[in-house]
Amino acid sequence: MTEFPQNPSTVYYFGTCLSDMIYPEAGMAGIRLLQREGVEVIYPSRQSCCGQPAYNSGFPDEARAVALAQVDAFSGSNAPIVVPSGSCAGMMRIHYPLLFEHEPDYFRVKRFSERIFELTSFLRHSLNATYTDKGPPVTLTWHSSCHARREMVCTEDSKALLRQLANVTLVELENEHECCGFGGTFSVKRPEISAAMVKDKVRDIQNTGASAFITGDCGCMMNISGHMESRKNPISGHHIAEFILERIHG
């Protein structure tokens, strides 16, 4: 079990490369949720990407170089590092030590990895965040990224936060355990299979009758929403941080 620091005064924030390039509002919402609990949030400006794209594609040397750049960027103090993505958090918490297993930097990297927390787990377990829903009644469903589910094991935490919102009806997604077909470079290296997977995912989302799906990972969101938009499907996708922030402000 992960040990969560209790009510820390300061945290670092790793925004992820996808929120830098495509979803800055989602990244920003995560910061606001942390600040709302009275935590000072520091954003190291030298941060970039967790390195997962290269790591998964068979280029560990490139991944290591990028990983070390993150370790350096967050070396100002030992404050916890909060990540608004189960996938990037899994990369940094679980895979970095494997990636550096035989490298001289192993212990430094390992200490860094132990400071990594996924946003919703951190809000729930370290900050005991509570939310009052000010939005209109809405029915939605939850999509869990594979690494949120199987590496960071934070799916229940994300759902627990959503369940605090009184006007939100959360419909469970059939085949929730199944990958949406993103898989980073998989989506462009095996586009035919990836397409079949995302189509099935959208069908399952549609079957819930929800008007929107919520997820904790921008990669899945880009994939699923991208397919929905191309099919003129009116269901919208939202990052959980952005969604919660909107609901509590009404």
Partner: protein
């Protein structure tokens, strides 16, 4: 070399994806297999403890593999089993052929054996004028239709009863088309029982070979394994050399893991433990038992502490049932003896990355396989490692055929990516460029693949870096 093979897998996958009947058959079957598994492994804590036991038994076995095999050989010989060693599948086929010839045998009845698939045993026997008959019902069906199995455990998983009814009507003389599974079963029973009675040789695989006692364990539901190993006068067992375990005590946990993972059973109908041929005074059982121990590259795989983990596999097939890729394209698209996640990490090691390397890219690395693997093989980690081997310079890797995918374009792209993510100025410049020119990126290469079923990603005008600065978030 590279191009046509790539096209082959992509084409096969696309063809499978377009086959709606196949998609339906696979979705239905794999879903029920997953549910059945969960009914046996309903206690996550106990399941995890059992998987840990299974994983350690197999991992420890690998560290002492040669000693266990020597012990197995000695015990088997003492029990009257004749032991043969084969470095290659060709050699293994020749050994079986020579046993058949020594007995003037013409017909061999086969229990299910993945090693025999690896050997392309049936084709070899046909080429040498022998009749090799599959007796497992699923294998029997697809042999009628001249197809390879599409699943390790459920070979005809891709067929429904209508298709099977048609195969029977077409291929078995005097059989009418029927969708009645009872009639289909009765037909198979009638034919197969006659074959058991008249076969010269019975062939089987081995699930666990116990070094301590020289016992060959065989797991099955149908009873065809018992038939093949008991009725004909000669029994030949084929095993990959990783199937050996040290003691009889190690068998029950592995057996539970195997049946729970494979078919969602607590126990199979039959668990056969074979210790030798018919002894003096006994009235039945084969007069000769042979054990063929096949290497086929396994001893080489053992050299790498990470890659060797593939040898822990007990062939339960549960990674197939849980894989979002396999459950959509089925086994045939992989064009491999072992399909699905286990095939992705085993086939390239058996046949070389240059031949089977495309398989390691057929995964979204979702971890569904490693979550359920009964012996905890970290399949996604091995896939990553093998992707890396695919790009290594010749001589820098350990898997045969490594470096098959090495190309200047990807190398340059990843180098560029690396600099854009490690040098802050370049990162800033990249984000700026995307913000301004992202919308007019030409729709080629990866972007083209992406937009086949998705809209183009819309790059933000302001990156999170800029936004946080504007919002007064403390930078460091």
């Amino acid at each position: 070399m590279d191009k046509p093979k790539k096209a082959t897998f992509a084409r096969a996958a696309a063809r499978a994806l377009a086959d709606t009947q196949l998609r339906d058959n696979l979705r239905f079957a794999t879903q029920s297999l997953r549910q059945k598994r969960l009914a046996v492994f309903d206690d996550p804590e106990a399941t995890e403890a059992l998987r840990e036991i299974g994983s350690r038994i197999k991992a420890r076995g690998l560290t002492r593999l040669p000693r266990l095999l020597e012990q197995l050989e000695a015990r088997c010989q003492k029990n009257g089993i004749m032991v043969h060693w084969a470095e290659t599948t060709e050699e293994a086929n020749r050994i079986v052929l020579s046993i058949m010839e020594a007995h003037g045998a013409r017909k061999v009845v086969k229990g299910k054996s993945m090693v025999s698939e690896e050997m392309h045993f049936n084709a070899f026997m046909k080429d040498h004028g022998k009749e090799a008959l599959e007796t497992d019902l699923g294998e029997f069906i697809i042999q009628l239709n001249n197809e390879p199995p599409s699943h390790i455990i459920v070979p005809a998983i891709h067929k429904n009863r209508k298709q099977i009814g048609k195969i029977f009507a077409d291929k078995i003389p005097g059989t009418d088309y029927t969708e009645d599974t009872d009639i289909l079963l009765a037909t198979a029973r009638r034919i197969l029982r006659e074959h058991y009675r008249t076969a010269d040789i019975g062939l089987s695989g081995v699930n666990f070979a116990v070094a301590e006692t020289g016992t060959l364990c065989l797991v099955e539901n149908e009873g065809n394994g018992r038939m093949c190993t008991t009725v004909p006068p000669v029994h030949v067992a084929l095993m990959g050399l990783e199937k050996v375990v040290e003691t009889l005590d190690e068998v029950p946990p592995l057996y539970r893991l195997l049946c729970g993972s494979a078919t969602g059973q607590r126990i199979t109908t039959y668990f056969n433990m074979i210790k030798g041929p018919r002894q003096k005074g006994e009235k039945d059982g084969p007069k000769e038992v042979h054990l063929v121990i096949l290497d086929n590259g396994r001893s080489r795989m053992l050299a790498d502490p990470q890659l060797r983990q593939v040898l822990q596999c007990i062939r339960c097939g549960t990674c197939l049932n849980h894989c979002p890729v396999y459950t959509r394209i089925g086994g045939h698209a992989y064009n491999s003896t072992y399909p699905g996640p286990i095939g992705e990490i085993l086939m390239p090691q058996l046949e070389g990355l240059d031949t089977k390397g495309e398989l390691v890219f057929a995964s979204s690395l979702c971890n569904a396989c490693s979550e359920v693997c009964p012996v905890k093989i970290p399949i996604p980690e091995l896939i990553r490692r093998m992707r890396n081997e695919s790009y290594l310079k010749r001589g820098k890797g350990v898997i045969p055929g490594h470096g098959f995918k090495r190309n200047a374009v990807e190398r340059v792209v990843w180098k560029g990516w690396r600099y854009s993510q490690t040098i802050p100025m370049l990162n800033w410049a990249m984000l700026k460029t995307l913000a301004i020119a992202g919308r007019i990126l030409p729709n080629v290469g990866p972007l083209k693949a992406w937009t086949r079923v998705r809209t183009k990603p819309v790059f933000a005008k302001e990156s999170l870096k800029q936004l946080t600065r504007q919002e007064g978030i403390r930078h460091e």
